[in-house]
């Protein structure tokens, strides 16, 4: 049963990740990534980490990828065209590299054999244990990650904001879905 589920979702993950990498439309690529993420989440649950599986969906699929999609639509990105100067060379180096990498890992496992998975312990699955470790032994990294997120929020806001003077000088109307009270009043003035 477990093997069966693993095989299904592993195949799904590989297939969808190939779509992510190969499809020329960013929207399809993004949606395929959701499938990959979902498959990996299932594998997390199989490995005895249901909390991480849920988080994977909640954070990755529910927030991060939505953000990708949001930006794709905001910029209205179209399919990657066959523009001039396409670099084939890049592919001919990257592909053998990736194959070497896989071969390398495979060789390591071929040498080491395939030990069975350790049995699942109650302690490993329990949410309480995870939370306790997070807020005691790993409190400092946790705080640092919190700080990192705060910095990222501020940085993202600053980076994505329109330059205030440029917006005023160009005389270009703000985009309609971002018309605020102030800009509306400014426009109304003769």
């Amino acid at each position: 049963m477990e093997t069966f589920i693993f095989l299904i979702f592993a195949a799904l993950a590989v297939a969808s990740s190939l779509v992510v990498v190969m499809h020329r439309s960013p929207v399809y690529a993004t949606m395929s990534l959701v499938v990959t993420l979902f498959s990996v989440a299932v594998l997390f649950v199989l490995l005895g980490a249901p909390f991480l599986g849920t988080l994977q969906i909640l954070i990755y699929a529910g927030a991060i990828v939505v953000l990708f999609l949001f930006v794709i639509m905001l910029l209205n990105l179209q399919k990657e065209g066959e523009a001039a100067g396409r670099r084939r060379g890049q592919l001919w180096v990257a592909l053998p590299g990736a194959l070497i990498f896989i071969g390398m890992v495979g060789l390591v496992f071929w040498r080491a054999g395939a030990p069975d998975l350790q049995p699942l312990t109650e302690d490993l699955v329990s949410l309480k244990g995870l939370a306790t470790a997070l807020f005691t032994d790993y409190l400092l990294p946790f705080e640092i990650v919190g700080l990192l997120l705060l910095v990222a929020v501020i940085g993202a806001t600053v980076a994505a904001r329109k330059a205030p003077d440029a917006a005023d000088d160009s005389g270009v109307l703000p985009r309609e879905d971002f018309v605020t009270e102030e800009t509306a009043r400014k426009e109304a003035r003769p």
Partner: protein, 338 residues
């Protein structure tokens, strides 16, 4: 066959039966209530009091032509309604609808999926609902739809934060993600909306936004975006969106009553066995019904927000309020008052 699997399938069948019927019933309720509020009769031709109106609508949806715009992205256009239904019909699996049942020596918890990460799973699944709106908007290849889709993604992400934080505050004193534990806690103490009234209001407002209901129906705003992301949809695909919207509402209402109003339980009532299960289910349905009525009432009473107001409310009012609520509840929990 595995008896556990059978029980799960049966439980799912019960909940599915409840939630699939929300949309037709609400269709009728909404139209009649709207008419009542606007001082007009509303649909009253089909059957007594127009009660068979939903059937007529369903028939109409089935026989209408299913149009796909020529410039649309066919695959995504097809997937969007399906994606809308998917979270709608999975989220309710974690809602408990009665006390534990003992059948031939086996204890069966009356919840479809009694998982440890209960509430989180609900949030995770419901967060996927945004994809259908965004994809529908994108695939239609129509600027109104696209704007509706962008608005939907921004709005849903923004209000998810406040919603999640208000839910987290409920979990703190209970010390568990399982909704059945939360119900048990409320049975033992008092319904959560009393100590956490602030959290409840944040939850209420955020759930209006999460379901794209007025006053937060910016993604579909008829007057400016025609119908937003589902402008191009017709016939059964439109019906799927319709169904998904009401099912989502019902699921959020179910979560709300479970978190804040004791779920299937009633204060002072402790009945076990089959009777208890039935009473629990009926109580849950009744509570969901009251919540849905509030949804309808609010929809026809409030005007729509402007987009910037919506964002300001979400980030500058609800989010700080929910954080405040979380801090207060955490402090009270630490102090042992909850």
């Amino acid at each position: 066959m595995n008896p556990g699997l059978v029980a799960t399938l049966l439980k799912y069948a019960v909940m599915f039966g409840v939630f699939i019927n929300v949309a037709p019933i609400m269709n009728w309720v909404e139209r009649r209530a709207c008419a009542y509020i606007q001082d007009r009769p509303g649909p009253n031709r089909v059957g007594p009091l127009g009660l068979f109106q939903p059937l007529a609508d369903a028939a109409k949806f089935m026989f209408k032509e299913d149009v796909t715009p020529a410039a649309a992205d066919k695959l995504l256009y097809l997937m969007a309604p399906v994606l809308a239904l998917l979270p709608a019909f999975t989220t309710f699996v974690i809602i408990p609808f009665g006390p534990d049942l003992t059948v031939s020596g086996r204890t069966i918890p009356l919840v479809v999926a009694p998982v440890d990460t209960g509430v989180l799973l609900f949030l995770a699944l419901s967060s996927l609902a945004v994809y259908s709106l965004v994809l529908a908007g994108y695939a239609s290849n129509n600027k109104f739809s696209l704007i509706g889709g962008i608005r939907a993604s921004a709005q849903l992400i923004s209000y998810e934060l406040a919603l999640t934080l208000s839910v987290l505050a409920v979990l703190l004193p209970v010390n568990s993600f399982r909704l059945s534990d939360i119900v048990a806690y409320q049975q033992a103490h008092v319904w959560n909306f009393i100590p956490q009234i602030l959290g409840f209001f944040v939850f209420l407002v955020a759930s209006f936004a999460e379901t794209n209901r007025l006053p937060f129906d910016l993604p579909e705003a008829e007057s400016e975006l025609i119908a937003g992301f589902h402008t191009e949809y017709s016939a059964m695909r439109f019906a799927a969106f319709f169904q998904a919207e009401y099912t989502n509402m019902a699921a959020l209402a179910a979560l709300g009553v479970t978190l804040f109003f004791g779920g299937w339980s009633l204060p002072g009532v402790h009945i076990g066995g089959w009777l208890g299960a039935i009473v629990g289910l009926v109580t849950l349905i009744a509570k969901i019904g009251i919540c849905m009525a509030v949804f309808v009432w609010v929809r026809w009473t409030f005007p729509r927000f402007r987009y910037d107001q919506l964002m300001r409310l979400g980030w500058k009012v609800l989010l700080p309020l929910s954080i405040l609520n979380l801090i207060v509840v955490a402090a009270m929990t630490l102090a042992g008052w909850l």
